[in-house]
Symmetry: C2
Subunit: 263 residues, 2 copies
């Protein structure tokens, strides 16, 4: 329990190295390109050592995905502080998604990846939980803003509609749109060039359609985006540096694992 860790440190470092090594491989060749064997060779360790860290390569992917969602959550949380007006807060989170796809493309890719594939069932429960928990919090974050809009009277829920439905709609529109942009070769050839602009406009159309006040004002909106996007972007860069593992913050709550003065 009280291991300040002389060698434990080397191990933890190595785990990071494995993850860092995996990122470009996955980026370029997907999960197929990643192999426990090649990682071991590359790092000059025996294969068994790598298996000491991760039970299989799917778990490496999930570990990266968990880190990705943690980063995304932080970006959402930050973006939600940029305005007190509900509709602006929602817009900010939307922009956060854009920034996420742009500034953390590897994270964005891997999040999509673990969703399909055979990754999910093969990975370990612990890591899955981290991922799900953060994803749930992301949803909550959007939910808060919608709730706020209802409370201020900016938005009136349609009969039989719920806050979650709207979260779901926005999520489909933004995430779905970004995924399509990233993976659908037909898009470009069908004349959809500026996916980002389209996504923004469509989200606003949907909110307008729900009667969410104040209605979309193109020039006001783009002025707002111009103001906050750089802020969110630089926050994103901070987060990438700050959040390196999928563990840190989780283990923070029982804080004996992080020695105040190491060494």
């Amino acid at each position: 329990m009280k291991t300040p860790t002389p060698k434990q440190l080397e191990i933890r470092t190595r785990e990071q190295r494995i993850l860092s090594l995996a990122v470009p491989i996955i980026r370029e060749g997907g999960l197929t390109a990643l192999s426990m064997d090649s990682i071991a060779r590359e790092m000059r360790y025996a294969r068994g050592t790598i298996y000491n860290h991760f039970p299989n390569k799917e778990d490496i992917a999930l570990s990266l995905a968990a880190r990705a969602v943690r980063r995304r959550l932080m970006l959402f949380e930050y973006s939600a502080t940029l305005s007190t007006q509900p509709r602006e807060r929602i817009a900010a989170i939307g922009i956060a998604c854009e920034v996420y796809a742009d500034r953390m493309p590897d994270d964005f890719q891997i999040e999509q990846m673990v969703r399909h594939d055979t990754i999910w069932p093969k990975s370990s429960t612990g890591r899955r939980d981290v991922l799900l928990k953060c994803e749930g919090q992301c949803i909550l974050q959007v939910g808060f803003s919608i709730q706020a809009a209802i409370e201020t009277g900016d938005l009136v829920l349609p009969r039989g509609g719920s806050v979650e439905d709207i979260v779901f709609g926005l999520w489909s529109l933004v995430y779905g749109g970004l995924v399509l942009e990233a993976t659908s070769p037909s898009l470009a050839s069908s004349g959809i060039m500026q996916a980002r602009v389209a996504i923004r406009r469509n989200c606003n159309a949907m909110l307008d359609g729900l009667g969410w006040q104040p209605l979309y004002d193109a020039s006001k909106y783009s002025r707002y985006v111009r103001r906050i996007r750089p802020k969110i972007a630089s926050k994103a860069d901070e987060i990438v540096i700050e959040i390196q593992s999928d563990q840190e913050l989780i283990t923070t709550e029982n804080d004996e694992s992080y020695p105040a003065s190491g060494q």
Copy 2:
């Protein structure tokens, strides 16, 4: 050229058998579970024979995906005939997507699958083209209805907006929503239960937000859905039986390949 085919027929049949065999395997274990080796063993053929049909398993997947998109296209085309009113036509295509996910779940799954993964780059150009062509036609089909709405004056495009942007929005909303429903474990735990209802409502909200006339009328809409959904569903069942390969219809235009009286 003039091969009426005695044995050629066996080969073509075998190709179908391979595909049929692959479907449940992919359904249950994804592409990882599929192996040229096990297919060969199962079918009591040597591995080389299977490789005669498909250069690799990715190509099997893409072949299935191409078939899937062809089926989807047919469903879209049929649905578009169910009404002359543009907004109703769009609604019908939306319902077609629902039906597609419900009645052709394997097709739906595999379409998502080939989008990510390492499948795309490894598969052969020919099959990719079929897939892209059909996908493009699906997009067109939606575009036609939007165009029609503009021509009748039901819809006025926003400044700087295009038909394609709206297609993109609807596609994100429906397809994205269905994908999230199918793959996101957080959804259920976040209280989003009736994804289908939410998707419909959100699409309508978006169209309302664009000012597309006539605006959404809940009871009218659900009456319409109740009327056309069964039609689309049974059409879907027909299509599944009719469309078995990803070749047939493509080669139909040079029609010597299909002997009028076989044997």
